[in-house]
Symmetry: none
Subunit: 205 residues, 4 copies
DNA sequence: GATGAATGAGTATTCATTCAT
DNA sequence: CATGAATGAATACTCATTCAT
């Protein structure tokens, strides 16, 4: 995660890695800076040379996730839709799911931290609402309307459709990868079923 | 919440109420016992006369919720199904949602605490898996199979159906009442739409 | 100093005594709370149970000095003047000096702290100005005018007279008892000489 | 202050200037080396390249003041007296005051530091006693005796006269320029009054 | 049963100082 | 020479917990 970033010293990378792991494992408030220092193999003072407070450290870890990673990938997706790369709504959802699973798999600790700490830090809340709430939601609305226009999905208020589909997909992914990562599901098959249920419902005809 | 319980002194109720509120608001680790004492209007020592540690206090607050409240209501629901009180799967889901919304509305702080602290306390995790994982899941499976036998819902593996429906319903409720409680939705209408999507999917026919 | 105060526990008295001594000896900023605790024979946490911060401890030590001790004694003196207890300006100064020497002798550490810390703490400055600046200065002016009216002292602006006399007296006392307390002066004789110089000057006639 | 000194690099001058200002403003113990570095616009390490410790920096700032400045000017004054440049004791005091005011005005921060830190650093105390105590006091004694021989001032023990006059003059200057520098006094007039009181006392004849 | 003073280990943060670059 | 990253001891302050009253 942080190993790629160029202008960071080895120590800084170690601090970020250690802090990420510990915050995810025990929670922000229950993690002490001395613990982070020990795990990162640096002196406690070194942490504060780079991050002016424990909170600053948290924000440094979390902000890029929300800003750089969530935003752009959703943007890419919508462009692909508009470029007719996905001809059906199902294809779009499938791609979204695959894309999200990839992201989640590679960032489980980070996501855990975000979920845990979001309610307690107003700065994070603000960022989340700004980056996800507005940007992403609007784009998803455009996509839904696009497929409604093509006659592929029902004429329901786009926001309702987004809420149902997104909450299903996200909670599906979270339960699979973040909450019960030890379980072994047959991934592809399960995804297809989820898509089928979302497409055709559970009612028999 | 705790006012009903009989064999609790006024002080104990006050401590539980104060702790619940503070844990929900700031998180378990970030709440100090002195804060709880102040809010409850008791001396610091009084807390430890009743609960041998801060963690004990947390477990006292959270356990009854999971044990007493989640289990029984699901049992009641399944009995109602078997008593043919709900003749369609939609009716069942509708009843479940109403029931859960009621519970959630009345226990937002408690639910917040459970969600926040579950990952960090193995005792809680164990309890959760035991009480919800096994008991509830089995009963839901029975219900799905019942409606499948009646030819109302598709012949998919019951667990998949449960996962999709339950995660949709729960995340729907959580986003509505726990995460964005300030938003004003048209409750009944939204629920009907959710049920419709779950029943018939989003695909146009 | 603090042994008299009734509603203070033994520990509190110990903390105040230790802090007073250390602040006087090494200065406020250079004294650590752990040092105070060690010297007072209490746990470090105990200090903060009684004084919410190190600064609070400083103010607790210093405020009573300025409020309770400086004000009242000057008031007493002026009453004695008005009651004609001192028939000459010299008598008045002599009484003032004796009185101040008594106070200074019994409160050397406290006075040291006040002198040292006054410039760095605005709360102290404010208090000092309020209690000494206004109250005391006004009363001294009244006294000077009283003796001017009696034709005992020259017709110079009272404030100038106060400044010269007071600064002479105070710096005399300070150099004798606070700055060079080890020196042995012939107290009474020296005081008489100071009074003589202030009365008649150093010029030979 | 330090700009004149030749064999000092720009950085060194900056460090001394910054440290002087900060020590005067917040006190030695409450000033951090990082603060000094920031204010001086140098790296933290640079300070320690030139001054082996924070205390060394303090001594570097303070010592020259006492050694170079106090000593020589008093010597000059006494020579002027002996050269009959001042024919009366009043003239001598007037010149002394003017001279001291000049010095004080141009070195307020330095004087503040000396006053504040003197009691806490034995090295400084020693220097002060050596340079002022012995050298200066002796010279002043000679001057007093000179004017006594000329029959201008009373036949009191010279040390008493010095104490009274010096403490009056110094505390007068300090209160005017160091402690309440914001006040606007009518300088010349006030000085004349001080001299008059010192010469003829406050008693009416 | 309730209190709240007392504790001492622990907290985040700052500090003066060192040293490789 | 100058830098600034790194250190680890020290700092003011908080915490959960104990216990005599």
């Amino acid at each position: 995660m942080f190993t790629e970033d160029q202008n960071l010293t080895e120590k800084q990378k170690g601090i970020l890695a250690a802090a990420t792991e510990l915050f995810a494992e025990k929670g922000y408030a229950a993690t002490s800076t001395s613990e982070i220092a020990r795990k990162a193999g640096v002196a406690e003072g070194t942490i504060f040379r780079h991050y002016k407070s424990k909170k600053d450290l948290l924000l440094t870890i979390v902000s890029p996730t929300m800003i750089k990673v969530i935003g752009p990938t959703v943007k890419k997706d919508i462009n692909k839709v508009l470029d007719k790369e996905y001809s059906t709504f199902q294809d779009f959802i499938r791609a979204m799911i695959a894309n999200r699973i990839d992201f989640v798999k590679n960032n489980i600790p980070l996501i855990r931290i975000v979920i845990q700490e979001l309610p307690f830090h107003d700065e994070l809340k603000k960022q989340a609402i700004e980056h996800i709430g507005k940007d992403v939601f609007e784009k998803l609305r455009a996509i839904v309307q696009y497929f409604q226009a093509k006659g592929q999905i029902i004429e329901m208020h786009p926001d309702t459709i987004i809420r149902v589909v997104a909450s299903s997909v996200l909670s599906y992914i979270f339960t699979s990868y973040v909450i019960f990562p030890e379980n072994e599901w047959n991934e592809e098959e399960e995804i297809e079923r989820l898509i089928e249920v979302l497409s055709n419902g559970v009612a028999k005809r």
